[in-house]
């Protein structure tokens, strides 16, 4: 990493820092830390992706071929945990580290040393997770939601997972406190809250959600730990506990978590669409209010993950109505993006392609979300491949596509070099094709009755599973193209001008040279 980035950052006149590995271990620079977050999350993305390919390889044909059921369950569990906590969330924190100070005209993050620690906790947690495959009994196999009593049955792997979640939670909480403090206190003079770029707004709201729910997750895994080892019975009926209480607490964290992973993508897309439409974002204020509404609503819909767990009629109806309501602010966002594009002067560089691809596929995921919100229909599709398809439409073609859009959009500012536009477009179209090949057919599998988390299935599901597996391998290989495009950009891309996107209006493009110097905005810009 040092070799890759050394030259890119090497030419600021005032950047005194250790070189070699010590630069990265001791750094308090938001750009270095952002870079580490992004590389870490990409490594985790490839790890989780490899697990996904293991799953898809097993499901390529009916019968057990490659993974025995127990190992298959470990793969699905760790795939989920690694992708959620190791890939998607740290990637967004990486973007926040790089972009929040640049976009609000701040010299660095508010708590620079804590920032270092928030990052360096992550490799520790990742090591715990990945090494759990090699302990007696193997990795946790109770699903990424680790419902008890199944998760109380597991071996040492479950304990490693619990500690990993603790550490990841601590890292997230520190990261969010840092982001909140930075945004609230370190904006350039004249940048009122309602003048902040949308990306900053979405991260401010996301950070509040994180501070709210990560302690709940920490609490619930701790209760699980004491149930496993210290004789408590929080989730054990025989001791007066209730397994369903775990689900309530978990999803009180888990549902806002879903929005933690999507709100910053809304932010990225809200930067990219106006830039490449050469037109200001339509309905800025309503976008802010919509983001806040989604965040607030996300805290009162958790039990829609539990419609089959059994709850009173009134409970089911309340959670159904609340969940459906989320479609309203989400719809407002989509309409605003469309209105931003309307009568713009659009060009379709890779970031714009990924942003439009995001809207297109995220809306499909939104529709299947509304369908899942309807209790009677959810009774049929809950815990089937329909739900798998639904949340991969919002997490892969949602969060991940937005991350790609952001990476292509900002890489010139970060490295001072342009990526290869042709290869970037190939990356987009191949991702688009293989993503849909993988996941669209899973809607049909779910409707026809294939449960999730099974290593083998009836012959009626065979052809769609085969299609899905082919798509998954194509999608996985396509991401190596992304790695190639990024590395060749960093090493040998063409020099980028200060503002390669003529429509970009935020501070990092208008006030900073390219690449952004190691220390930027030591004197804050004045925002009119």
């Amino acid at each position: 990493m040092a070799a890759v980035h050394g030259d890119a950052h090497g030419h600021g006149h005032d950047d005194h820092h250790p070189s070699g590995i010590m630069r990265w271990i001791t750094t308090t620079n938001h750009k270095d830390i952002g870079t580490m977050y992004l590389w870490f999350s990409f490594a985790m993305f490839l790890t989780g992706g490899t697990l996904a390919l293991g799953i898809r390889a097993e499901l390529f044909q009916p019968g057990i071929q490659i993974l025995q059921p127990e190992l298959f369950n470990q793969f699905t569990t760790l795939h989920g945990l690694i992708m959620v906590f190791g890939a998607i969330m740290p990637a967004f924190v990486g973007f926040a580290n790089w972009q929040v100070p640049l976009m609000i005209g701040a010299p660095d993050m508010a708590f620079a040393r804590m920032n270092n620690w928030s990052f360096w906790l992550l490799p520790v947690a990742a090591t715990l997770l990945v090494s759990s495959f090699f302990v007696p009994g193997g990795a946790a196999a109770g699903g990424w939601t680790f419902y008890p009593p199944l998760s109380t049955q597991g071996g040492l792997g479950v304990d490693l997972m619990i500690f990993a979640v603790h550490i990841l939670g601590a890292s997230s909480i520190m990261g969010s406190i840092n982001i909140i403090t930075t945004i609230l206190n370190m904006r350039a003079p004249g940048m009122t809250l309602m003048k902040m770029p949308m990306f900053v707004w979405t991260w401010l709201i996301t950070a509040y959600l994180l501070v709210l729910v990560m302690p709940v997750l920490a609490g619930v895994v701790t209760m699980l730990l004491t149930d496993r080892h210290f004789g408590t019975s929080f989730f054990n009926a025989a001791g007066g506990g209730d397994p369903v209480m775990f689900q309530h607490i978990f999803w009180f964290f888990g549902h806002p978590e879903v929005y933690i992973m999507i709100l910053p993508s809304f932010g990225i897309v809200s930067e990219v669409i106006p830039t490449f439409s050469r037109k200001p974002l339509f309905g800025y204020a309503s976008m802010v209010y919509a983001t806040a509404s989604i965040a607030i609503l996300s805290c009162v819909v958790w039990a829609h993950h539990m419609f089959t767990a059994g709850m009173p009629t009134v409970g089911q109806l309340f959670f159904m109505y609340a969940t459906m309501l989320i479609a309203v602010p989400t719809g407002v966002k989509v309409f605003n993006w469309t209105a931003t594009m309307w009568q713009g002067s659009m060009s379709f560089e890779t970031p714009m392609l990924f942003a439009i691809g995001f809207i297109f596929l995220f809306v499909i995921g939104g529709f299947s979300g509304v369908i899942c919100a309807i209790v009677p229909i959810d009774i049929q599709v809950q815990d089937t491949y329909y739900v798998i398809a639904h949340f991969h439409y919002v997490l892969v073609s949602g969060s991940l596509f937005a991350l790609f859009a952001g990476a292509y959009y900002w890489i010139p500012k970060w490295t001072g070099r342009m990526y290869n536009e042709t290869l970037g477009k190939w990356h987009f179209w191949l991702s688009m094709f293989f993503f849909n090949l993988t996941f669209f057919v899973q809607h049909f599998l779910g409707l026809a009755g294939m449960p999730r988390r099974i290593p083998d299935y009836n012959l009626q599901f065979a052809d769609f599973n085969m299609v899905s597996s082919i798509g998954a391998f194509g999608f996985g290989l396509t991401q190596l193209l992304f790695l190639y495009v990024m590395i060749s950009c960093i090493r040998s891309g063409e020099k980028a001008p200060q503002n390669p996107w003529d429509g970009a209006t935020t501070l990092e493009w208008t006030h900073l040279p390219t690449p952004a110097p190691y220390h930027s905005f030591e004197k804050p810009p004045v925002v009119k």
Partner: protein, 290 residues
């Protein structure tokens, strides 16, 4: 693509005609809708053909929602892709500079709310109906085990019958050493047998971890929770064999604990109960000895 013969659908294909569209038409009054529904019946692109009132409601609501989603989808992306095609820099299109309209924001907040009300209304009625487990004709307790189901007929005709129901697909089929049958992984040694047209209340619990009892054609899925009781119900429209699977991850063999419900005519059911008279005791004795 030729491998696919959904067991559930195949059994019920021949009865698709008369139930085809009555409530679809009532609900929507759109003949295109009914056409689509009948085309989709028994298709592998949709929910299995419904075999109970609740399953039928679910099926119809899903179809209606698909239509609403499709219309919105075409509307939004029609506008967006028109814009993508016409408002291009490469065509020399100059960007307008509007960026705000409170009236428009209010309109596209209110209209989705109204659409949601239209969606929620029938769903609410179905939820209330699903939750009404009162006055059943018979009650069966299903218990989830790692990895099989246990059934106890608690009340109604057949009271006292008790048995376990395990996957009957052979190990050799799973390990690809023998050809797989049509009901691969969806066949059991002892089926749950119920009479047609009777309200059957299913009481659920589990012995070890969470399981879920799911029969798609009957429109019921309910988690089985160790230490707690949950209930649900169904009334099968016609005789047949309806297959489902455990739907909550329960460990190693989660994928290998199917549910098979056999619905019989009343007279046939009585015969079945009589036949169990002797063997039922034997089965439960057998259980005790295990």
């Amino acid at each position: 693509m030729t491998l696919v013969i959904p067991g559930i659908c195949k059994i019920s294909n021949h009865v698709g005609g008369n139930m085809r569209s009555k409530s679809v038409v009532t609900l929507a009054g759109v003949s295109a809708l009914a056409l689509y529904s009948s085309m989709a019946l028994g298709s592998k692109y949709n929910l299995p053909e419904p075999q109970s009132v609740i399953a039928k409601d679910i099926y119809d609501q899903h179809i209606i929602l698909m239509w609403i989603c499709l219309v919105i989808f075409i509307g939004v992306f029609g506008v967006m892709f028109y814009s993508v095609l016409k408002h291009r820099k490469s065509l020399g299109y100059k960007a307008a500079n509007f960026h705000h309209s409170t009236a428009v924001e209010i309109i596209w907040t209110v209209i989705p709310c109204l659409i949601l009300v239209v969606m929620a209304w029938p769903a609410t009625k179905t939820v209330i109906a699903m939750k009404d487990t009162s006055s059943p004709d018979m009650t069966i307790k299903a218990t989830g085990y790692q990895w099989m189901w246990g059934y106890d007929y608690l009340q109604g005709e057949g009271e006292g019958i008790s048995f376990f129901s395990k996957l009957s697909t052979t190990r050799a089929q799973i390990e690809n050493k023998a050809p797989k049958g049509e009901n691969y992984l969806l066949e059991v040694d002892n089926r749950v047998v119920v009479p047609v047209g009777k309200k059957v209340r299913i009481i659920l619990t589990a012995n070890d971890v969470l399981h879920a009892w799911w029969v798609p054609a009957l429109g019921i899925k309910q988690d089985a929770i160790p230490g707690f009781i949950r209930d649900t119900w169904f009334k099968a429209d016609k005789p047949g064999i309806y297959r489902g699977q455990c739907a909550e991850l329960c460990g190693k063999d989660h994928g290998f604990m199917p549910i098979v419900v056999e619905v019989l005519e009343a007279a046939e059911y009585t015969k079945w109960v009589a036949a169990q008279g002797t063997s039922a005791v034997k089965t439960s004795m057998h259980v005790e000895n295990k």
